[in-house]
Structures are given as C-alpha cells and as structure tokens.
Symmetry: C2
Subunit: 122 residues, 2 copies
C-alpha cells in the first residue's frame, strides 16, 4: 500500500527536483561550466592556461573552483615534477560524463543569441 508520487498537497516529481538541485549544487557559481567547458576542449591545462582561457576569472576564484571540482571527482589535479612546480588539470572519466550537459548548454546559448537577433529585426 504505497502512495505513489503525490504526498498531501506536495507535489509531482520530487526525484526530478532533487536531481536538479544535486546537479546545481555541484556546478553552482559563475565559473564551473566555463572551466569544465575549457577542459573538455583543452584536455590537459595548467593553472595559468586556465587563467587565460577562462575569460575574466582571477586566481582566487579559479583556485577555489578547481578545488570544488576536484572534491567532486570531476577533475584531476596533477602536480608535475618541474621547477617551479606546474600543475596539470584534466577531466576525470566521470567529469567527462558532463560533456553532453555542457554541450546542450552551449547549444542553447547559441540559439538564444540568434533568436535575439531575430527579435530585434521585427
């Protein structure tokens, strides 16, 4: 005798809501998508590379976001044996599962920009 989806007057699809929350909690903030998107393209990148590629980010945010991403097993941090030390960042296999999501995000953004030009010509 289990109730199915609706509890009282609370709603519909809790699972979906929760899933959305989960994803957003991992990818929150202004920069994570950019960093991940860059790493999808770039494969292996150093701290300075990312600082250049991710437009507008500073060292503090970059370092913090990278730590977040590493904690969630989305990226690898590899300290190289050089002097001075360098670090290589790359996506984990698990991080690569984000590629479809990020592609959708980028794809929609492209269409969005086009749709705005369309509207402006009316």
């Amino acid at each position: 005798m289990k109730k199915k989806a609706v509890v009282n007057n609370t709603p519909v699809c809790q699972v979906r809501m929760q899933a959305i929350s989960d994803t957003m909690s991992v990818l929150s903030g202004k920069w994570k998508f950019h960093i991940l998107g860059t790493l999808i393209e770039g494969n292996k990148l150093g701290f300075m590379d990312l600082l250049r590629e991710v437009n507008g980010i500073g060292t503090k945010m970059l370092s913090k976001e990278l730590q977040d991403l590493e904690m969630n097993h989305l990226i690898n941090r590899n300290v190289m044996n050089t002097k001075p030390i360098t670090v290589e960042y790359s996506l984990t296999e698990y991080g690569k599962t984000l590629a479809p999501l990020i592609d959708e995000l980028a794809k929609w953004g492209v269409q969005y920009r086009q749709s705005i030009y369309g509207l402006e010509r009316d």
Copy 2:
C-alpha cells in the same frame, strides 16, 4: 584576411564560452531551473501551485524569477478572469526548447546521486 580562432594568447573557443555565458545569464539564480522543470511537467500552473511545487521558494523570489523568465520569453503569464484574480503560468514554445537541457540536468543529477552511493560503499 580574418584571423580564425586564436587571438594572441587568448583562447580557443570564444563562441562556446560566450554561449555558455548567455545561457547562464538567462537561467542564473537558485530557482529558474526548478520553476522551468516544474512547468515542463505541470503545463499550466498558478502562482500558488508553483509556490507549493518549487520546494522552499518564497513569494518574493518566485515572483521575481517569474518576471525574469517572462521577460526572456520563456514563459507566458495569463491573468484569468476570476475573483480574486488567478494567474496561469506556462512555458512558451520557445521555453520548451529548454526541455532537452533540463532533462540532461536532471539525468546527470540522478546518476550523480547514484555514483555517490557507489563511492560510499567502497
């Protein structure tokens, strides 16, 4: 004589970066994905419906986010001829183009949660 992708030591795929920024600027904040996700399921919903369905949101945020979404032509706001007035919110056709993105988001969230349980058993 146009340069192609790389300008100086600035980077790779500006278009993609910009597209990601565009999407995020439209869907920024803590609630927009939830609201849109709910409207994808619910079709037509009133203010109070959304207040109940979108877990944890308050009137101020809900009203503000709905306005943002309406301004960007993602949702319709329909004032019904009742007393007291009621309002029906629904996705625009354009808003529905977000469905694949939101589905990806939800899908990834589900997998993410599973992967965490997986890790915890190690």
